[in-house]
Symmetry: C2
Subunit: 273 residues, 2 copies
DNA sequence: CGCCCGGTTGAAACCATTCAATGTCAGTGG
DNA sequence: CCACTGACATTGAATGGTTTCAACCGGGCG
């Protein structure tokens, strides 16, 4: 298959029919405006088709689903994989859609949002470089969440059929899949235990430590709404906590980035109740 | 292997060396008292070895991990599987232990408990008939939670090595495994979205509906501590909510069972904020 | 019988929510 | 160039739900 079919609902129509290069940007690719379903209308929902994925040259190929597979000899099989760029607010998929792919996040941050029947919603996970979104589509007919780009996101779209074929050809991929699944469970449990337990202060401290991994000093900045939806507190409370951390000089924000200035202090706070 | 080795830490020493029948109870099997690690001391921590599992005759064999496999011809391979009975409060496994098995719950309810460094803890999942506990052990070196029996629990212990062998022999088991994993993720997300969002009243209503599945009118009764640890509220609040539901005639408790008397009313409450 | 465990209940303190106002910055159009 | 606007973040004040701490109660059990 040289030319994969574009999905009907979640994705923009292909803007070009010949395989472009990975670095190219499709300027006329903005075709899909989502506003729907959610209470809070997304601001920017553009999706750009960048091109066919170049797995062989992929900078993070050792961290993705196909890690360990002979990507070189696989190349023809991997053609259906497409490379996309999502503007902040754009959806990779949603429960109502009929998309049938999983996504490997190459850069940026994606939030998985789940709604209650009364309109309340929670962010149940954040996905980052190397993570896979939409795994559930491998065993279910639909997605469990809406996957929404938090900032600019680059992601490769992998049809579930392709994953199934790969499973048959290379059983070793099962190990990778199980690992991914377990990682999802771990993260979900961590959100539950660390981010919805204790005072708003302690939760915020733990969220910041999660956003800014050890060894690093910065991570993606989140809207206060999203922080609230992660920790189960109101956006105002999230704002108060973050503002307080900033006043104490533990933290700064700018250019869509969060910078940790005093990790020790935040870690102390994270250990409180 | 006719005679599997007993685990060193989590499990009681085998009480008999010949294969007993599935219905038999080992009266001298109480060998393991746990007290340890947790702040809240477990009340009753006895474990009884019932015998070697009889998978061929298993009443729920179509709902367990091996569903779809030719259990009859597999029988010799399945010998290492042991059948256990856990008293309320007994641990199936815990993070510090060196056990190396997964467990299929045949009856009863198991809670998965996760601790924070400050001593706080949350119940991140409840497992019931047909569920598998300890899946993470298939890809990790240790368990992520303590698995504690809520009421009397019957569970089959399946060494991870055995699962690995089965995987090689019957790749179709992968489908089952992925399904289980996805189920774990779904439940975790549900706990996060439904049981830690909204007022204590609404959370309690949702927890009750979760404990008492549709089509049924009863489910396992939980201690107020456990309810609190599931919903992220204090035990007193959980008690107030449940007592209130009882006063309204929506609910009753007795003999370790929870009975729903007015599901509609509880569902209405579950939809509130 | 009395102890212990767990559930219930009350009252006060506390923390988070709510609602509303203000502030800020970037983008837009006159 | 500069009001104007919209999207967010921040902040204040009042409200209300939850927690906390303590007392009380009831059943099971030695």
């Amino acid at each position: 298959m040289v030319e994969p079919v574009p999905p009907k609902d979640e994705m923009p129509v292909r803007s070009r029919s010949t395989a472009p290069c990975i670095a190219s940007r499709s300027p006329d690719g903005r075709l899909w405006g989502v506003n729907d379903v959610t209470e809070r209308p997304a601001r920017c929902t553009d999706v750009h088709w960048v091109g066919r994925a170049h797995c062989v040259k992929c900078a993070i190929r050792d961290r993705v689903l196909f890690a360990g597979l002979p990507v070189d000899e696989l190349e023809p099989m991997l053609r259906p994989i497409d490379d996309f760029e999502f503007d902040p607010g754009a959806r990779l998929y949603q429960p109502q859609g009929d998309a049938d792919s999983v996504f490997t996040i190459r850069s940026g941050t994606v939030k998985l949002v789940q709604y209650l029947s009364n309109g309340d919603y929670r962010v149940v996970r954040l996905l980052r470089q190397g993570d896979v979104a939409g795994l559930e589509r491998l065993v279910d007919e639909s997605y469990q969440h809406a996957a929404v780009a938090v900032d600019r996101v680059c992601a490769c779209r992998i049809p579930v059929d392709l994953v199934a074929s790969l499973e048959r050809a290379y059983p070793s991929i099962h190990q990778q899949l199980m690992r991914r699944w377990q990682q999802a469970v771990d993260t979900a449990d961590r959100f539950l235990t660390e981010l919805t337990t204790g005072s708003a202060q302690a939760r915020t401290a733990r969220l910041l430590l999660y956003l800014v991994p050890p060894q690093s000093v910065q991570g993606p900045a989140l809207h206060r709404d999203d922080m609230g939806a992660i920790m189960g507190v109101s956006p105002e409370t999230a704002s108060r906590m973050v503002a307080d951390f900033k006043r104490r000089g533990w933290l700064s924000e700018g250019q869509g980035m969060l910078r940790v200035l005093d990790r020790d202090a935040i870690e102390r706070m994270a250990r409180e109740h």
